[in-house]
């Protein structure tokens, strides 16, 4: 294997320090992102760290691919400061309002345009949407193997992949071959800090901005128009505490308490 060409999917997400000021558009039910300071999606930083470690091990190149508005460019550049070689920002008004499928179509088109790489890494889920759909959807669209919630990854010099996927009650170890899309779990590594030399180097690294026309996508397949899922009506749940006094023998009371918990859905 002559080095690894790795694409890392990154998403600028609202800074958790500003969650209090987040607004939801009452008409569309979509997050109002304008004016919110962004950070790189935390899980994506773990994916980028994994990519940088693999390139340090095997040599190669790391290109970040992100679908985001133009004002997210500086946030994406933070990945360049961490050590990525290049960034592709997929940005077009037509991409606005995309659900995960429409987003995955754009990201997959970007990866194809880049020239299908050996490995695509992404955070398993985003801090804002949290659906964890994108890595698998990108893998399906590209027609290559995909894994998600990966906590350990090894790629040998013959391009064989061994990975450990976190499950509810343990983990599954899988073996496969490149190319592959892998959703990285936060447990995989500790992302490196951004260094000052890294920040300075990032200012001169190549950044390419591509729109709908560059990617050759059908306008109906992207953005709000290409999204099969639409946000439903939003309502604030009413939280009330309710007390009920039970009297009787302890054994009988225990049965009644369990029955109440079952009927209210606390116990299945």
């Amino acid at each position: 294997m002559k080095g690894l060409n790795i694409s890392v999917l990154v998403k600028p997400v609202p800074d958790p320090g500003c969650y209090e000021s987040i607004q939801i558009d009452p008409q569309t039910g979509i997050l109002v992102r304008e004016g919110l300071p962004n950070i790189l999606n935390p899980a994506d930083k773990h994916a980028l760290e994994a990519a940088l470690q693999l390139v340090e091990q095997h040599s190669g190149r790391v290109v970040m691919v992100s679908m985001a508005p133009p004002n997210a460019l500086e946030t994406v550049k933070e990945g360049l400061a961490m050590g990525a070689d290049e960034a592709w920002l997929l940005s077009d008004r037509a991409f606005a309002g995309a659900d995960t499928l429409a987003t995955s179509r754009v990201l997959a088109a970007g990866i194809k345009k880049l020239g299908l790489c050996d490995l695509v890494l992404a955070g398993s889920e985003s801090a804002d949407g949290g659906t964890a759909h994108v890595p698998s959807q990108v893998g399906e669209i590209l027609g290559i193997s995909h894994l998600t919630n990966v906590t350990w990854l090894n790629i040998d010099t013959d391009a064989n992949v061994r990975a450990r996927m976190k499950m509810e009650n343990g983990y599954i170890e899988v073996e496969g071959a490149l190319p592959m899309v892998i959703g990285v779990s936060r447990g995989m590594n500790v992302p490196r800090y951004t260094s000052l030399p890294g920040i300075l180097a990032a200012q001169d690294k190549p950044v390419k901005v591509l729109g709908l026309n560059n990617l050759g996508l059908d306008p109906g397949s992207v953005g709000l128009a290409g999204s099969p899922t639409q946000p439903g009506k939003l309502s604030r749940p009413e939280l009330k505490r309710q007390g009920e006094r039970l009297e009787g023998e302890p054994a009988e009371l225990a049965k009644r308490i369990v029955a109440i918990m079952r009927s209210s859905g606390v116990l299945s």
Binding site: E74, E78, A81, Y193, T194, S195, L196, P197, L200, A202
Partner: protein, 381 residues
């Protein structure tokens, strides 16, 4: 007046330092203060990330940036641990004199390891006879058989125990008018006759070691003279204004931001009379005053530093920023304690430390009285 903004790279630097400080320093900030201990491992990490050597040119292993970027690093560090920021500030003070006055050989010898944080720097000027009274220094240096022999005692020296490379000023003769003249020497830790003395038990800016340095027949070669014999006063005063006072001002801006953010957080969480105290106008006025002090200190500080980075002569602007920012930090910390009521004096909250740290910034690099004299002197000139 031009628009006051930081460049994208400066904003990225701020984010990077903030992330580092929130992960590595904020969790131990209380411990640093309580134990008055300097986490040198954290300093080394900051060095490895390029933060300690921000003002060192690239050819000597640094980032080659200016005082503005340095102030960003100090502000972000001081947001959670002003005492530790003081260690970093003084390290860069030592770097500055080497950078501005060192020979090429001296720069190549010392700057790379100081820039990378492998070594810690310092500057020792103050003596029991005074700090701002630079001419009152009693320590001496005599040239005997081709070697300088240094004797005397320095006090209130930051990084006194930890510094690996320290620039020390001593009296070495008289100028043409018969006034004492001073020279600066680069002294390395462990040099015979050069040793740290007692450590001060400060009530603020704890975590930066402050103490005595003794010179007892300490021998220094002629290659240890920095900037030529007789130039010590000029270089010390220039470095203290350019790097010392701007650094203290930036540290104070960090404390001010801490006061503002902690005050806002508390005001939103603390419920009295059935609602958060942030809804009370009396509390809102305190928050507003903290915001005004923070914004004003920030503008004065980065304006003065910007002038310095542009190469201008701006001692009065720097003194103005230092005077206002340090005093404002004290006011803001007191206000924040007031709005927190009894919680303000509980050490589970950091605001008591902010007040102690803010008070300790005032004498560092020249008291408020001295700053006012500098401002008045330039204004009346």
């Amino acid at each position: 007046m031009p628009e006051f903004t930081f460049s994208p790279a400066q904003e990225m630097l701020r984010k990077a330092v903030r992330e580092f400080v929130e992960k590595e320093i904020e969790p131990i900030a209380h411990k640093i203060d309580a134990e008055n201990s300097c986490p040198m491992d954290v300093f080394r990490k900051m060095g490895a990330l390029g933060f300690a050597g921000v003002i060192v040119p690239k050819e000597y292993g640094g980032a080659g940036l200016g005082l503005t970027e340095r102030a960003i690093i100090l502000e972000e560090t001081a947001r959670h641990a002003a005492g530790f920021a003081m260690t970093l500030m003084t390290h860069q003070l030592g770097i500055e004199v080497l950078l501005s006055y060192g020979s090429e050989e001296q720069k190549r010898k010392y700057l790379p390891e100081l820039a990378s944080g492998k070594k810690l720097g310092g500057l020792a000027v103050t003596e029991p006879s005074g700090g701002s009274d630079v001419g009152g220094q009693q320590s001496t240096g005599e040239l005997k058989d081709g070697k300088w022999v240094l004797n005397g005692r320095k006090c209130f020296i930051t990084n006194s125990s930890e510094a690996d490379v320290c620039v020390v000023t001593v009296r070495t003769g008289e100028d043409a008018k018969g006034r004492p003249s001073f020279s600066a020497f680069i002294i390395e830790k462990g040099t015979p006759g050069f040793a740290p003395g007692r450590e001060e038990d400060k009530f603020g800016l704890r975590g930066s070691g402050t103490g005595d340095l003794s010179l007892n027949n300490c021998q220094a070669g002629e290659d240890a003279v920095l900037g030529g014999v007789g130039n010590g006063t000029k270089m010390a005063l220039a470095a203290i204004s350019k790097v010392g006072r701007t650094g203290m001002s930036a540290i104070s801006v960090g404390i001010l931001r801490g006061c503002l953010e902690e005050g806002v957080r508390f005001a939103k969480e603390r419920v009295l009379y059935g609602k958060p105290i942030a809804k009370l106008q009396a509390i809102q006025l305190e928050i507003a005053r903290n915001r005004v002090d923070y914004e004003a200190a920030r503008l004065l500080t980065y304006y003065a530093i910007g002038l310095k980075d542009a190469g201008g002569s701006c001692d009065a602007e720097i003194a103005t920023a230092k005077y206002f920012s340090t005093e404002a930090a004290v006011r803001a910390a007191k206000r924040t304690m007031d709005l927190m009521g009894g919680y303000g004096v509980v050490n589970d909250y950091p605001v008591g430390r902010y007040l102690r740290d803010a008070l300790a910034t005032i004498p560092s690099g020249g008291t408020s009285h001295v700053m006012q004299l500098v401002i008045a002197g330039q204004t009346l000139a």
